[in-house]
């Protein structure tokens, strides 16, 4: 179990972490999700003892770990680029953590060899023991890095962007494999990612971070269905962001009305996911829109919708929907949201989002 209390860390003038508090139960698989610069990797490095927090407390298995050195923490760390020892064979890489042990914890040579063989078996790399890291593929290197980290029987496994440097197919396979491994070995794991799909698929608990702070902690379903902040909503997938207004428990935007119970009257930020637009709506408040730039991308069709007031919405249709609507450039459809998410406040007060995070905004 690991508990972090109000951890803060500053690099020069840059506030990397700002009072982060988080509690990870034993056996959990936790994702730290956020854009680059959100502090997720810094937090992971502080857990490992590679960086030191300026303030705050870190408790590992009930033990205050504030002054504990990296070498004494007994955590496993898988680096983003694996950091395999380039001059050592795969077997020597995996054995390193066992060979550096001193005193009564030191294993005999035969025990180390047996353990390395077990780990090679576990990560399905039998037969590659004598290879050097440069002779391995990306996926194989990743598994060596994992085996090396597991060799010391860590109380906590930390992974920094574990799938970042792999191609799409290998990434998917490794993801499932890692999930199984985590469950079978009863590990407590924390991994860092900027890929929301990865976080939602792999983790029991997702921690969304932004600008050194935690935006929301919850299960993947909670995070996706009930995002606590506009930032979380936008980070978890493409969204059309609209300005609206709240009046006595109802939000109004572009002629549509949507319930907004409990929110104060005033300006509102309204989000609409591209795949949650009804293209053949018979609702009373359905709006006319022109289809622009339809694009068939395998199983989905992507297009833009131009509202009469000049606003553009991004829309995503399944092939079936596409067949029933048959969108062509310039054709007019009646649209209404299947679901809107409403936050009180104005656009200006929402957290800044970089367009490089894959979020496209169509502002009014």
């Amino acid at each position: 179990m690991i508990t972090a209390k109000t951890i803060s860390k500053r690099f020069g003038t840059f506030q990397a972490l700002d009072g982060v508090t988080i509690n990870v139960e034993k056996g959990r698989l936790v994702a730290l999700l956020g854009p680059s610069g959100s502090g997720k990797t810094t937090l992971l490095r502080i857990f490992a003892g590679l960086d030191e927090a300026d303030s705050g407390d870190l408790i590992l298995d009930g033990l205050n770990a504030n002054g504990l050195k990296a070498k004494d923490r007994q955590v496993g760390f898988v680096f983003q680029h694996y950091a395999l020892f380039r001059h050592m064979t795969v077997a020597d890489n995996i054995a390193f953590g066992l060979k550096v042990r001193k005193g009564k914890n030191r294993l005999a040579k035969e025990q180390i060899e047996a353990k390395v063989a077990d780990l090679l078996n576990l990560v399905q790399l039998n037969g590659l023991a004598k290879r050097y890291p440069s002779q391995l593929s990306g996926g194989q290197r990743q598994r060596v890095a994992l085996a090396r980290a597991l060799a010391v029987e860590p109380r906590l496994l930390l992974l920094d962007e574990p799938f970042g440097a792999l191609d799409a197919q290998v990434r998917k396979d490794l993801r499932r494999w890692l999930r199984r491994l985590h469950d079978e070995m009863g590990l407590t794991s924390i991994f860092v990612t900027h890929d929301q799909e990865e976080a939602l698929e792999l983790a029991d608990t997702v921690v969304v971070m932004n600008s050194g702070k935690i935006e929301q902690i919850g299960s993947p379903a909670e995070i996706y269905d009930h995002p606590a902040t506009p930032f979380v909503f936008q980070f978890l997938g493409n969204a059309n962001r609209l300005n609206g207004e709240i009046k006595s428990g109802e939000a109004h935007t572009h002629g549509w009305t949507w319930p907004a119970p409990g929110l104060p009257d005033g300006p509102a930020v309204v989000f609409l996911r591209p795949h949650e637009i009804d293209m053949t709506s018979s609702r009373a408040d359905a709006q006319l829109a022109k289809i622009r730039h339809p694009l068939i991308l395998g199983p989905i069709v992507r297009a833009e919708l131009e509202l009469p007031d000049g606003t553009f919405l991004e829309v995503e249709l399944s092939r079936e929907e596409h067949l029933s609507v048959n969108p062509e450039e310039g054709s007019v459809v009646k649209i209404a949201p299947k679901r809107l998410t409403v936050f009180a406040g104005s656009v200006m007060s929402t957290p800044h989002l970089d367009s490089s995070f894959g979020v496209d905004n169509y502002e009014i």
Binding site: A48, G49, L50, K69, A70, K71, D72, R73, Q74, V75, G76, F77, F79, H81, A83, L84, F85, R86, H87, F96, G97, V100, R101, Y132, P133, S134, Q135, R148, A149, A151, V152
Partner: protein, 280 residues
């Protein structure tokens, strides 16, 4: 392996460029080297051997080897620690340290020698104190070593800094998390990762340490048989019109350089598999 036509030059360009490179190599490297050896043997092998058996020549060889044997290990340690500190840690004054390391390269060797005369000479800053304590630095072995260490200081560091910078700190951090102490991480990760660069640096450093003339000349005092290194001895013999002697001594220097070169090539050949695998 087939080469694509886009990157292949016409045949005549290939041949011309190769010939040009060979010509330059012959003119500026092989010819002078051959001349040195031919001149050394011009009056017969006996005369050359006589020079080698001369006490002054023998003591010059001994002194040169002694100076190199002391200064090269010193610079190995200095260079290694400096590059380690510069590339693996951030601290105030880091960029200043990087530029300081370059100073011996940008300062004329004669000036480097003069610095030590001004510091430790008779009328130098520490001169009186040294006399009081009956210590001699200038015109003695310590001065020669100091000047050589100063002049050859950058070789190891310059070889290692770019290499260590490129390798980053990830592997050391991985070692720390796996339970290794700082020293263990340095010994089993950092050092093996840079050993080839370190070898090149040491070889270059050694070549310069044995061949250094300017700085050593200033602090030596040119006492035959006592403070004359091999390069200084070559000059003295030359000025004495003992051309065979001068070129024989010069051949020894050239030979020492060739031996190190052959040693390096042999090492590379023996470890070619490992060298290939260590390149990502």
């Amino acid at each position: 392996m087939s080469v694509s036509n886009a990157t292949r030059e016409p045949r005549w360009v290939q041949i011309t460029l190769t010939l040009l490179a060979l010509l330059v190599l012959a003119l500026f490297l092989v010819l002078p080297l051959a001349t040195v050896i031919i001149q050394a043997l011009s009056k017969g092998v006996d005369r050359s051997i006589a020079t080698l058996e001369n006490q002054d020549t023998l003591s010059a060889i001994r002194l040169t080897l002694t100076v190199a044997l002391i200064s090269v290990p010193l610079n190995l340690i200095f260079g290694l620690s400096a590059s380690w500190a510069i590339t693996k840690f951030t601290f105030p004054g880091k960029s200043l340290l990087v530029s300081l390391i370059e100073i011996p390269f940008s300062v004329s060797p004669v000036i480097s020698g003069l610095i030590f005369v001004l510091l430790f000479g008779l009328r130098g800053l520490f001169g009186p104190w040294l006399i009081d304590h009956d210590m001699k630095i200038i015109f003695a072995l310590p001065g020669l070593v100091l000047a050589t260490v100063f002049v050859t200081f950058p070789f190891v560091a310059r070889e290692l800094i770019p290499l260590m910078e490129e390798q980053g700190r990830d592997e050391e951090e991985a070692a720390l998390v796996l339970g290794a102490g700082g020293f263990r991480a340095f010994w089993s990760i950092t050092l093996p990762n840079v050993r080839w660069g370190l070898l090149y640096g040491v070889l270059l450093c050694n070549a310069r340490a044995m061949g250094e003339f300017g700085a050593v000349s200033v602090v030596s005092g040119h006492v035959r048989g006592l403070t004359n290194t091999l390069p200084l001895h070559v000059e003295i013999l030359y000025n004495d019109y003992d051309f065979v002697g001068a070129f024989t001594a010069a051949s020894i220097l050239a030979l020492l350089a060739l031996v190190t070169l052959i040693l390096k090539t042999a090492l590379e050949w023996w470890h070619r598999d490992e060298l290939a695998s260590s390149r990502h």
